[in-house]
């Protein structure tokens, strides 16, 4: 497909999203419910990963380095 500008491309992407999820056939208020649920879920996932992933990564690193440290000290 050829697109004249970014806006057209984004509109096409949104159309594909409508078709694939099936919400193309829904009424506008249902569409907005679906979109808000989906986007808030995604936002929460991003937010939680932003907040918690670094902590967990640090904890994991500490844990593994502890094990490795122990092993290396014993052998």
């Amino acid at each position: 497909m050829n697109f004249k500008n970014l806006k057209e491309y984004l509109a096409w992407l949104y159309y594909q999203y409508l078709l694939i999820t099936g919400i193309y056939v829904l009424e506008p208020w249902e569409k907005s419910i679906f979109n808000s649920i989906l986007f808030s879920a995604i936002a929460m996932v991003i937010y939680t990963s932003y907040v918690f992933v670094p902590i967990h990564v640090r904890l994991a690193l500490e844990f593994f380095s502890g094990i490795f440290g122990d092993h290396s000290s014993f052998s």
Binding site: L19, T21, E27
Partner: protein, 569 residues
């Protein structure tokens, strides 16, 4: 048709010719069955695609390449389709919930307050589907037209302000919509020309109907002429016609089979055949679509075990198949069915609703297409509704069969006789196909249809759509899969002035939604090209080009097996 298989005369007695090159003795058949197994084996080697090739190197059963393909649904598409249905189902439950608590008005029939404690009427899946999925895209079906449904038609524009619960007519007419939806295979749906003229003439002379049955005072000379013509057209001894194709099936099968009989029915048979089989009271066993191993297995089991409990032999075994299956676009493997039927001494009921007129070099249906002998088919049934642009159905076969049906079939005894103008339309169009009107128009149309079909299918394949069915079948299903695309495809095509039929759940398996194009001899190259370019455009817009077997566009290459060998990997 009343004797038991044991006393049935061998087919050879009645029809000496065995044209399909297969001797009805054991050896020939075993060879043919061997071939079937080879083919089955092939399926396992290529789980990607189910294809049937039967050409010269497969022996004498098929005189020409018989290529049928049902490309497998891509995994990702299947997953996304189920996901789409899942989302829509959730919203359906939400809406049902709102309706139940009267938060939202319910527009559709529901139980009344007084029926509240009875068995629920509107809770099964079909009702849920109608209410919550079909209604949302209902504007794609039942569009009213206001012209002849020929190659082009005029549509009445309608609009809905409440999301398809009600429609109102805007008063405008959408003109010159290319019609890819009518079963007008030979283009006889016309309001000018010889057929219309002679029908008008007959209306002046005979009126529009006699309001009586054939057995009482409703028998006209036109009816008898038509039946003789049908018999001659099909190359059988005798034929009889009924006013409605659906009733032909549903009322004549019960006259042919009854208690103690076995009906072997293809799983995709039309509703009228299913209804007829059920009304007959015989035992019905269903074999997989066009699957000869499955049919043979059922036949063997039936003969070995006999009737349930008593283990007496079956009085009769009737195999019921269709010529062209209108949802898959596949053609019945008739030579193999006939070989099996002869081997196991069963009877064959062939419904040629879509194939009569549309297949074969002379337009005489599947029997002509495979070059077989019409005597090998015990009961030939067909309708005039499709290729002939009329209405009604026929049964044709041996004289005794037709005489038996004339006095025993419900639709012969109780139904009013056909309207003379309709009969005249059938006579004129059939004569035209046979070339008895002294022109070559009929032959030309049959040829044109075959050409249009091959062209349209080839182009769609090249564009990368998944299309189902046999290369020579004028019914062309194109897969859409996702529920939202059913609605979007119909709407986008109509926006571009092309009328198509889209088919969804109850008529197809839930994930295999499709659009179905019916090619007509009346379509010109221009129309087909316009339609194809629009389909391609909409296909890009909706991302419908699912096929993973891209074929390079090539106009010069003859359309044969090699095309597939190139893309097998």
């Amino acid at each position: 048709m009343t004797e038991s298989p044991a006393t049935k005369p061998t087919d050879g007695e009645v029809c000496q010719r065995v044209k399909n090159g297969l001797k009805p003795e054991r050896n020939g058949l075993v060879k043919s069955l061997h071939r079937c197994h080879e083919r089955e084996h092939k399926h396992h080697c290529h789980p990607e695609e189910e294809e049937v090739h039967s050409d010269s190197h497969h022996g004498s059963l098929y005189s020409r390449p018989f290529i049928e393909s049902f490309e497998e649904t891509p995994m990702l598409v299947a997953v996304l389709t189920y996901m789409g249905y899942g989302i829509l189902t959730i919203f359906g439950y939400l809406r049902d919930f709102l309706r139940h608590w009267k938060i939202e008005r319910c527009h559709i029939a529901r139980e009344r307050e007084v029926q509240k404690d009875f068995v629920p009427l509107y809770q099964d899946f079909e009702n849920f589907y109608t209410r919550n999925l079909y209604m949302r895209i209902r504007d794609n079906w039942n569009r009213p037209i206001c012209s002849v449904p020929g190659a082009k038609m005029d549509l009445m524009e309608r609009a809905s302000h409440d999301y398809n619960w009600t429609f109102e007519y805007t008063g405008r007419v959408v003109q010159d919509v290319i019609n890819l939806g009518s079963y007008n295979y030979l283009g006889f749906a016309e309001n000018t020309g010889p057929c219309a003229d002679s029908a008008a003439e007959v209306t002046m002379k005979y009126g529009v109907g006699v309001a009586s049955t054939r057995q009482e005072t409703g028998n006209l000379d036109r009816h008898e002429e038509m039946e003789k013509l049908v018999a001659k057209f099909l190359g059988v001894e005798s034929a009889m016609a009924f006013g409605m194709g659906f009733a032909t099936n549903s009322m004549n099968i019960p006259a042919l089979a009854g208690k103690g009989c076995l009906i072997l029915s293809d799983e995709l048979n039309h509703a009228s055949l299913v209804l007829g089989a059920r009304l007959s009271g015989s035992i019905i066993r269903v074999f997989k679509h066009n699957n000869m191993q499955s049919l043979e297995k059922l036949l063997r089991e039936a003969i070995v075990h006999g009737q349930p409990r008593t283990h007496r032999p079956w009085k009769k075994i009737l195999i019921v198949v269709e010529g062209i299956y209108s949802m898959e676009g596949s053609i019945v493997h008739l030579p193999e069915v006939i070989a099996l039927k002869k081997h196991y001494r069963a009877y064959l009921y062939l419904d040629e609703a879509h194939s009569i007129g549309a297949l074969g070099p002379r337009g005489r249906g599947v029997v002509d297409y495979f070059g077989l002998d019409p005597c090998d088919v015990d009961v030939m049934m067909g309708t005039f509704t499709k290729s002939f642009g009329a209405a009604g159905g026929y049964i044709a076969g041996k004289r005794e069969l037709i005489e038996y049906l004339r006095s025993h079939s419900h639709s012969a005894v109780y139904a009013t006789s056909m309207s003379p103008p309709v009969v005249e339309q059938i006579i004129t169009s059939m004569k035209c196909i046979m070339g008895e009107d002294g022109t070559a128009i009929g032959r030309e149309r049959v040829r044109q249809l075959a050409e249009n079909t091959v062209y349209f299918r080839k182009r769609l394949r090249e564009m990368g759509f998944i299309i189902y069915g046999n290369n020579d079948s004028p019914v062309i299903p194109m897969m859409l899969y996702m529920p939202a695309k059913i609605g979007a495809f119909g709407r986008e095509m109509l926006k571009r002035n092309i009328g198509v039929v889209v088919v969804g759940f109850p008529a197809t398996p839930i994930i295999e939604s499709r659009a179905r194009f019916c090619i007509s001899a009346a379509h010109t190259k221009d129309m087909l090209n316009r339609a194809l370019s629009v389909i391609s455009e909409v296909g890009d817009l909706l991302q419908l080009k699912y096929s993973r077997h891209r074929i390079q566009p090539s106009l010069a290459r003859p359309f044969d097996d090699n095309v597939y060998e190139d893309i097998d990997d």
